[in-house]
């Protein structure tokens, strides 16, 4: 996509951030993704006002079908409102997704920058990362959860641990290419300090691929959270997360499929939105990545 001269001139004096905003506005996929994500965040934030109490037990209302009475999505085996639980479930998914994305990129970025630049650290750190990556993600997360016990914080920590090696790999790869660039050599030759080279010259190059990677991490963490809860090693059972709802509802699957249908669909749509956003960001921020993925 060739930019016209006037576009280049108008974009040139602008800062990095406004140029990013410019690209985002131009890409419809990113816009659609952002708008849908904003709606999901709004649903999560407004859930307490939009619905009844998700924990309210009501023995006489057990297993009500979808749309019966006041229950838009029906009720579950304890008579709890599935609509309220589904909407509240989005809070857990979004919090886990966003926290894991932020934490794992922050930690992975730090390790990756140092590993890419200091050869001795690189040799040791990358062996450890290779080892961690050889353990299938779900198993590693399950094992960590089995050790630490069920809680939302532990889910976030366990998922962060399994995502860090991937971020480190990505950042290290960028650093290895950039540090051979003439401008880094120039910076070294005029005596720029080591931290300054890392932060001023190398760090900015990692931003675009990291934003894309963070989006994918957010999407996969939402699935992982649901998987962990589904297997009984995730968020504590009293919290209405989508994984917990599906896990509890499966015993009633044949007579009341709506208990697992609604959280399942919400989870799938939520992950789809974030993945589409990731694809859009990738095409916008780093066209070279498009060929690789």
């Amino acid at each position: 996509m060739a930019a016209t001269t006037s576009e280049i001139i108008s974009a040139a004096p602008a800062g990095r951030l406004s140029r990013f905003g410019h690209y985002v506005r131009r890409n419809p996929v990113v816009m659609v993704g952002l708008v849908l994500l904003a709606i999901l965040v709004l649903i999560a934030l407004l859930a307490p006002w939009l619905t009844v109490d998700p924990l309210q037990l009501s023995p006489i209302d057990r297993l009500k079908k979808t749309g019966v009475g006041d229950h838009l999505f029906g009720t579950d085996m304890y008579g709890r409102d599935v609509f309220a639980r589904t909407l509240h479930g989005s809070q857990i998914s979004l919090v886990v997704g966003l926290c894991v994305a932020a934490l794992s990129t922050a930690v992975g970025l730090t390790i990756g920058l140092v590993a890419g630049y200091v050869r001795l650290v690189d040799a040791i750190v990358m062996r450890i990362m290779d080892g961690l990556m050889a353990i299938p993600g779900v198993l590693l997360a399950i094992a960590l959860m089995a050790l630490t016990g069920a809680s939302v914080q532990n889910v976030i920590l366990a998922l962060t641990v399994i995502e860090i090696p991937r971020v480190v790999r990505l950042v290290r790869g960028v650093v290895l290419t950039i540090r051979e660039m003439p401008y880094v050599e120039a910076a070294i030759s005029i005596g720029t300090s080591f931290p300054k080279i890392l932060i001023r010259h190398i760090l900015p190059n990692t931003v675009a691929p990291l934003i894309v990677q963070a989006t994918y991490i957010c999407a996969s963490s939402m699935i992982f959270e649901a998987v962990l809860s589904f297997l009984g090693a995730g968020t504590p059972p009293e919290i209405p997360s989508w994984g917990n709802m599906i896990s509890e509802g499966r015993a009633y699957f044949q007579i009341a499929p709506h208990i697992i249908f609604f959280p399942g669909v919400f989870l799938a749509v939520c992950v789809l939105v974030v993945n589409i956003l990731g694809d859009g960001l990738r095409d916008t921020l780093d066209p070279r990545l498009r060929r690789r993925m």
């Binding site: 779900v138 198993l139 399950i142 094992a143």
Partner: protein, 313 residues
């Protein structure tokens, strides 16, 4: 070639080493006393002491690691806390459903994804391409258990074509086996084929821009010949790589799918032992799965030389 294989084999040693250390530390990273965690909330002090003794937790940590590693090398994965049976034996008993499910899924995924990805690349920019890409993103986004329950609802409960859950071993004959693993295989294959289709499309698209493809077209070869003999063959390396990497995803998927469809495989063993805090089994299963993952990627690396003679080591 031989030297390369030896070098590649040696390179897996540190990886397996890190996995082994991690799996060993798993028990010792537990906040508090691992024996107390295993024993549960209602254990008496003498029960905890017994578990400490049995796990050798009273020894210094390097001795523990040495003992553990030595028995590991001999194929001894320890004794299950819950059932008192050797972990290696328990794993062996559960191997069949998992292996069959993983193999069937990989074959089905390749059969679906490679043609889809190739057609999408050939028809890049058309509705066919968009449909394939949509499938790829959706396949990535719909969790396996959601998809598994939808399949089960349609084909087992509504149409009653296939059994709802359960597994028929290969010893009972091929027919019942295929019936029992059809739905789990489809559910799992969606995820894996989404990934493979994406990479196939990307790498075939790249190859289609090459000069030799234009030459092949110019000399009047049929479209199919160009696509299969010239494009796909040259795009094979990234595709085979991603099939190797997707085994990691597949293993995670197996754990979930076996729970959804109630298959008595390694995945169910893992989940059951987590609920019972049976650490020797958890450790053993992680080791076996990670070992399989490393082995598959080792084989993939060696296969490169067959697909692309330009790669010489």
């Amino acid at each position: 070639m031989f030297a390369y294989i030896v070098r590649r084999l040696l390179a897996t040693i540190p990886v397996i080493g890190v996995v082994a250390v991690f799996v060993f530390l798993l028990l010792h990273l537990t906040p508090g006393d691992p024996a107390a965690v295993i024993a549960g909330d209602y254990a008496r002090p003498e029960d905890i002491a017994k578990i400490r003794e049995r796990l050798g937790l009273n020894e210094p940590i390097h001795i523990q690691f040495g003992t553990w590693l030595w028995s590991l090398v001999q194929g001894d994965l320890g004794i299950s806390i819950f059932s008192n049976l050797p972990v290696a034996k328990l794993i062996q008993q559960r191997l069949e459903p998992t292996l069959i499910l993983a193999l069937a899924t990989t074959i089905l995924s390749i059969l679906i994804a490679v043609p889809l990805g190739t057609i999408a690349a050939w028809k890049a920019g058309t509705w066919i391409d968009r449909a394939v890409m949509l499938f790829a993103v959706a396949g990535f986004s719909v969790p396996i258990f959601v998809f598994g329950y939808i399949l089960m609802y349609i084909f087992s409960i509504e149409l009653k074509w296939l059994p709802v859950q359960g597994y028929k071993p290969i010893a009972d004959g091929l027919g019942p086996l295929i019936q029992s693993i059809t739905l789990p295989t489809i559910a799992l294959a969606i995820l894996q084929s989404a990934l493979i289709a994406r990479i196939t499309r990307a790498s075939v698209m790249e190859v289609l821009n090459e000069d030799y493809i234009r030459t092949a077209h110019a000399k009047g070869l049929a479209q199919n010949t160009v696509l299969i003999r010239h494009a796909l063959k040259n795009a094979a390396v990234p595709i085979v790589t991603i099939i190797g990497i997707s085994v990691g995803l597949l293993i995670g998927g197996v754990v979930v799918t076996e729970s959804v469809f109630n298959l008595p495989g390694l995945g169910r063993l893992t989940v059951d032992s987590i609920l019972r805090r049976d650490y020797p089994i958890i450790q053993g299963v992680i080791l076996v799965f990670s070992g399989a993952f490393v082995l598959v990627n080792l084989i993939v690396d060696i296969l490169y030389t067959l697909f692309d003679p330009r790669i010489r080591y």
